[in-house]
Every structure is written in structure tokens, then in C-alpha cells.
């Protein structure tokens, strides 16, 4: 499974579309959100969007260009491909965290030292949101035709931004709820991982039956 995860990591640094996305999405989000958005939520938005898109972009590219056919001809089982994609979610989250941390750090340093703060509860909330949304989307790509999966992916991504757009007060309410903050965040993280496991089972089931 290691080569499959490494393959996804290599593709992130080699794929032109992903490179362009990584370069532009943070300034784009900063412009859209403006300076009214509270600093810690800005980093959360950047981190979750990055992890989500890093996971989905390479996968969508593979399915769309039938590169997954190449993978299936290699000495791997379909379950290996599914497992690797779910493992990659964690790699994508770390990559997004490091990348956006450096990017935002540079912005703070050179442009506005008040913009965007960082704290651990934000990191916890970001990981729960990432697990939730990635769990919803991955089975779509494993089980449905590419165009339909892409369309549904757009809906999920818009929903994600609807949550971000609910305003600071509502977000604070959500993140203070037991689902996110219960037992110091343990409930939320556990629920996120459980959801990911269920999603993985569903993906494996769908992919095994797909031509």
C-alpha cells in the first residue's frame, strides 16, 4: 500500500492543476472571506479546503483520465487502492496544514501580523470537518460514473462553504457542541474516524463491483 500512498504524494507535487490550485486557493479564500472573518476560522477554512481538494483533485484526475485502469493493471488489489486513498486523507491533512501554515505565516510576516491565528482546538475542528466531508465524497468517486461523482462533489464542497459562511457566532456554537468539543474533542475525532471507516467499507463494496 506504501507505493500507492507515495504515488498520490508524488502526484500532488507533479500535477499542474494541483500546483495551480495550491498557489491560488489561499489568496482566493482570503479575498472572499475578507478581513471580517475571525482569524482562527480563516486558518480552519484554508486547512480544510486544502486537505479536501488535495484528496479529491488527484482522485478525480485519475478517474477522469482512466489512469485508475493503469493502477488496476499493477500488482495491487482493489481493496489496496481503496485503503491507500483513505490513508492518503491523513497525509493530505498534514500536507495542507504544513503548506497553509507556511503560506499564511509568510502573509502574516509580510502583510498583516493581525491576520489569522492558530490554536489546537482549531486544528481539532478542522480534522473533524475534513474527515466528515472526505467520508461523504470518496464513495461517490469509487462507486459512480466520473461526471456524476464530480457533480455531487461540487454539491458537497458548496455545502462545506455554506457551513463556513454561517457566520462566526454559529460556527462557535457548532464547535462548542458536544459532537466537536465533548471529552476534549475525543468524541468528535472518534466520530470522524468511525465515519471514515464506514465510508471506506462502502467504497470498497462499490469499487469491487465496478468495471
Amino acid at each position: 500500500m506504501g507505493p500507492l500512498v507515495m504515488k498520490d504524494i508524488r502526484l500532488i507535487v507533479s500535477n499542474r492543476a494541483t500546483q495551480i490550485f495550491l498557489l491560488l486557493y489561499i489568496p482566493f479564500l482570503l479575498i472572499i472571506a475578507g478581513y471580517d472573518f475571525r482569524a482562527e476560522y480563516m486558518y480552519l477554512v484554508v486547512l480544510v479546503s486544502g486537505a479536501y481538494m488535495i484528496t479529491i483533485l488527484s482522485f478525480s484526475y485519475e478517474i477522469g483520465r482512466k489512469t485508475n485502469q493503469l493502477l488496476l493493471s499493477l500488482p495491487v488489489r482493489r481493496t489496496d487502492i481503496v485503503n491507500a486513498k483513505y490513508l492518503f486523507v491523513f497525509a493530505a491533512f498534514i500536507m495542507s496544514g504544513v503548506y497553509s501554515g507556511i503560506y499564511i505565516g509568510l502573509i502574516k510576516h509580510f502583510l498583516d501580523s493581525q491576520l489569522i491565528a492558530f490554536d489546537l482546538s482549531m486544528l481539532r475542528n478542522a480534522s473533524i470537518l475534513t474527515l466528515l466531508f472526505v467520508s461523504l465524497v470518496l464513495p461517490l468517486f469509487f462507486g459512480l460514473p466520473h461526471k456524476i461523482a464530480n457533480l455531487l462533489n461540487v454539491f458537497v464542497f458548496v455545502t462545506l462553504f455554506q457551513i463556513f459562511g454561517m457566520g462566526v457566532g454559529t460556527l462557535e456554537g457548532i464547535f462548542a457542541s458536544p459532537v466537536f468539543a465533548g471529552a476534549g474533542g475525543l468524541y468528535g475525532i472518534s466520530a470522524g474516524i468511525l465515519l471514515l471507516i464506514i465510508s471506506r467499507q462502502l467504497s470498497s463494496f462499490l469499487f469491487a463491483r465496478r468495471d
Binding site: 507505493p3 504515488k7 483520465r65 485502469q69 493503469l70 493493471s73 500488482p75 495491487v76 488489489r77
Partner: protein
């Protein structure tokens, strides 16, 4: 080495691959022929477990592909008719993705093939022509000491010189009597040079799977005057083509027809292309 039994697959679009069976022993090359849309790529996809079969079995190295997929594919070199590589990558980057999957990847062999095929490792895949992609696919497929090489239209899009070079490489590989090659092609002259067995599919059904020499012995082209085409003669042809100058047809009964027809009748060896052409209605 490769045993396909009663393989069937039905598609929603209407195409139906039905009851395909053949066996390829170690040390031989099998050519897989048939017109466009006859089911060649579907059969290969089913052999490689890239598609789910409805019924039948595929045993490779004695094991069912669905039960021992990883170990079996580790010993297969596979070349697609249309290579689905990651376009933004260079050849070297793509190789770094592919190589770790194979236990017996041989990097120096890979470099030899890259040099032999005059490919540039720094070139991006999207800049490559179809022929270059096929060469690259071949380099990857031949660099991990595979025991079975499966190729879907490997020589299409290649110039005659390189096609000849590929056939020479395949011939060298087959000198190791533990290795086998299974490949589909439209260019039947390639098969006439190197194939030991021919499997012919048409309209999703198998027409035959036989040693090439037996096929060449069995099928003949008979040419003659149309006035000789009495019903008893006609029924001895698999298929006939009549023009203003006479007739030409494929038969399994050339000796009998020679006796029935006049001295101006010509009997010639049938090429695989002739056989495909005249048997296109079979299946």
C-alpha cells in the same frame, strides 16, 4: 500459463462476450485477432481483472486471477492499446511511481529499453506521440522480468521498422521457454511472423483457437470462374466474393474443390487477413 474457460460478459449497451475459451502454454506466443468491436479488449480486460466477468474462469500460473491477483500481476507485463499515464509527469517520474509495485523491477533493464527505444526520460508524457507512449509502455512491461506478457494492440501506431524491432524483442523473450506472450493486433502480418497460436474472436464469440501452422494448412483461398459456382461448389466455401472477373473464396475443402473445378482454378494459402475478412460473418 494462461487458461481461459467459458468467459462471458454482458454489457448494458448490448454487446455480449460469450463463452470464450483458450489455453496458452509456457514458451509460446498467441495472437489474438478479430475485427474492431469483436471483443478483444474486453477479453483482455477480463483476463487482467480490470472488469468483472459474468461467468467463466481465468487461471494464470495455475491460480484464479481474482483469488491471487497481486502475486499473479507481479509476474505479468501488460501493455495497453491506449496508455493511461499521468500526462503531467515525465517518464522518469512515471517510472518512480510504477517501479515500487514490482518485486523484481530491474532498473538497468529499464534504462536499456529506454535507450534502445530512443526515449528521453526527462520528457513529459503529454508531449509524447502515440508510438512513443507504446514504446514506453513496452519498456515498463518488459523491465520486471514478467513471465507472461499481455499486450493489447502493441504495434498499432508504430512504424514498420520499430514494429520489426518489437517482434525481435518478443522473439528473444520467448527463447526462455518459461515465458509466454499473448497479444491482440489488427496487423496480422506481425502474427504470421512470430505467433505459434491464433485465437480469433468475432462479434463477441470465439471462432477458433488453434496452432498457426494448422490454420495455414486448413484454410485456402480458391479463385476461379463464376460459371463453376454450382450449388454443390458454393456450399463448400465459408464465404465467397464474386466480381465481373470471377470469384474468390475461403474454404476448408480446397482439395475437394480442386477436383470439382476446372484447371484454371487457383488454390492459394490464405493469410490471417484473408481468414479474418472472409470469416467476419462467423461467430
Amino acid at each position: 500459463m494462461l487458461e481461459v474457460r467459458n468467459l462471458s460478459k454482458k454489457f448494458k449497451e448490448g454487446f455480449h462476450l460469450d463463452d470464450i475459451s483458450f489455453t496458452l502454454e509456457p514458451g509460446y506466443i498467441m495472437g489474438f485477432i478479430g475485427p474492431n468491436g469483436s471483443g478483444k479488449t474486453t477479453t483482455i480486460n477480463l483476463i487482467m481483472n480490470l472488469m468483472k466477468r459474468d461467468s467463466g474462469t481465468v487461471r494464470i500460473f495455475g491460480d484464479d486471477i481474482t483469488e491471487n491477483e497481486r502475486e499473479i500481476k507481479n509476474r505479468i507485463g501488460f501493455v495497453y492499446d491506449e496508455a493511461h499515464f499521468y500526462d503531467d509527469l515525465t517518464l522518469e517520474q512515471m517510472k518512480r511511481i510504477i517501479a515500487p509495485f514490482y518485486k523484481e523491477w530491474n532498473d538497468s533493464l529499464y534504462k536499456d529499453y529506454i535507450d534502445k527505444f530512443e526515449l528521453d526520460s526527462r520528457m513529459r508524457i503529454k508531449k509524447m506521440s502515440k508510438g512513443m507512449k507504446t514504446k514506453y509502455s513496452l519498456a515498463l512491461a518488459l523491465s520486471h522480468n514478467a513471465d507472461l506478457i499481455i499486450m493489447d494492440e502493441p504495434t498499432s501506431g508504430l512504424d514498420p521498422i520499430f514494429r520489426k524491432e518489437i517482434l525481435d524483442i518478443l522473439y528473444d523473450i520467448i527463447q526462455d521457454e518459461n515465458k509466454s506472450i499473448f497479444f491482440s493486433t489488427h496487423i496480422t502480418t506481425d502474427l504470421e511472423q512470430i505467433a505459434d497460436y491464433i485465437t480469433f474472436v468475432n462479434k463477441g464469440r470465439m471462432v477458433f483457437s488453434k496452432p498457426k501452422d494448422e490454420i495455414m494448412e486448413e484454410f485456402k483461398i480458391v479463385k476461379g470462374d463464376s460459371r463453376n459456382l454450382i450449388p454443390d461448389v458454393r456450399e463448400r466455401f465459408i464465404s465467397l466474393r464474386e466480381t465481373g472477373y470471377g470469384f474468390e473464396g475461403l474454404t476448408r475443402e480446397a482439395t475437394k474443390l480442386k477436383d470439382m473445378l476446372d484447371d484454371n482454378t487457383l488454390v492459394e494459402n490464405a493469410s490471417l487477413q484473408d481468414i479474418m475478412y472472409y470469416m467476419r460473418t462467423e461467430g
